[in-house]
Amino acid sequence: MTIASSTLAVILAMSAATLMTRFGGLLLARFVTRGRTKRMLEAIPPAVLTAVVTPTALATGMAETVACAATVVAARRLSLLPSVLIGIVCVATLRAAGL
């Protein structure tokens, strides 16, 4: 149960980097009020989420791609939790089937 100084340095560097990105958002928001910057601000959630999820959806395997499509279809009618459950069941079933 020890903490090596080199590891502590890494943890603190990671923590500082993460805090910079999280506090930085507050600063960024100050420059954004209207027009083009406001349009860009509104595009942030879909743009970031899409970028994060795309490799899982399209470059991991057939099971993930199909499950992502199923989740999209489910989300058009159902709320968050049932849609996510459908996605999970779908991916687990397809993986068990060897896809």
């Binding site: 149960m1 020890t2 903490i3 090596a4 080199s6 590891t7 890494v10 943890i11 603190l12 560097a13 990671m14 500082a16 980097a17 993460t18 805090l19 990105t21 999280r22 506090f23 930085g24 958002g25 507050l26 960024l28 928001a29 027009g35 349009r39 860009m40 509104e42 595009a43 942030i44 959630p45 879909p46 743009a47 970031v48 989420l49 899409t50 970028a51 994060v52 999820v53 795309t54 490799p55 899982t56 959806a57 399209l58 470059a59 993930e64 499950a67 989740t71 999209v72 489910a74 989300a75 058009r76 968050l80 849609s83 996510v84 996605g87 999970i88 069941v89 991916v91 687990a92 993986r95």
Partner: protein, 236 residues
């Protein structure tokens, strides 16, 4: 009294909203703990990292590129790159924190992990709005679960097996997909999503690491920037 009841109700509402994601994050935290100990970190180091960094993606990347002794500059820069998206998430949610005082806003920011940010965006769109009490009620169980499951995973090691077998690893991509559909505002969003997806996929195939997140998000924003003016009120 009325005021206190409102705060309590919001605490509970926040905790209830995050509960499914708390359940989903426990195996992820346990796997992180097990992987960290397998990489050569002590139990205390693994837990400290989860407590101080609180950003799962960058923690797994750190384990991936860990060396002995570890390079604080290399891994620190990787964490910066992986977490650059939080800059955008923070800017987006900051404009929806009207119920927060300046200090409350500052105190909220370090806890803006992906899942907590996403749930906050949903709450901010509801008629109740995003309140500090709701935010605290949501953050506490999720943060506690992340740190505690790291400890459990580090202690018992990799006896849990692979969460991928029961599809639990798919919980977070699925949440993100549902959220994208929730942010849909017609063709303009379609263009943003298409630009982001295409460039993220391209960069993911061509480059190692997490550049695909940076480039994909940037392409989506660029697409929004060059889009036609107007419809301002409609998208607000």
């Amino acid at each position: 009294m009325q005021y206190r009841n409102t705060i309590r109700r919001d605490h509970f509402a926040g905790a209830r909203a995050i509960l499914p994601l708390v359940v989903a994050v426990i195996p992820v935290g346990a796997v992180f703990g097990a992987v960290a100990v397998g990489t050569g970190l002590s139990i205390a180091e693994a837990v400290l990292m989860s407590a101080l960094v609180f950003a799962g993606g960058s923690q797994f990347v750190a384990m991936d590129i860990w060396t002995h002794p570890a390079s604080w500059s290399g891994i620190g820069f990787a964490a910066l790159l992986v977490n650059l998206r939080h800059l955008l998430m923070g800017a987006s949610i900051a404009g929806k924190m009207q119920q927060f005082g300046p200090l409350q806003r500052l105190a909220a920011m370090p806890f803006l992990a992906d899942e907590l940010w996403a749930m906050s965006e949903i709450r901010a769109r509801s008629e109740m709005g995003l309140s500090p009490a709701w935010y605290v009620g949501m953050v506490l169980p999720f943060y506690a679960a992340w740190v505690a499951s790291t400890l459990a995973g580090a202690m018992i090691g990799n006896v849990l097996g692979d969460p991928a077998v029961i599809g639990l690893d798919f919980a977070f991509p699925a949440v993100f997909i549902v959220l994208v559909t929730g942010f849909w505002r017609g063709r303009r969003t379609g263009a943003v999503v298409a630009a982001s997806a295409l460039s993220a996929l391209l960069v993911h195939q061509l480059a190692d690491g997490v550049w695909y997140i940076v480039v994909g998000a940037g392409a989506g924003l660029a697409c929004a920037a060059v889009g036609p003016d107007g419809e301002e009120g409609e998208t607000a």
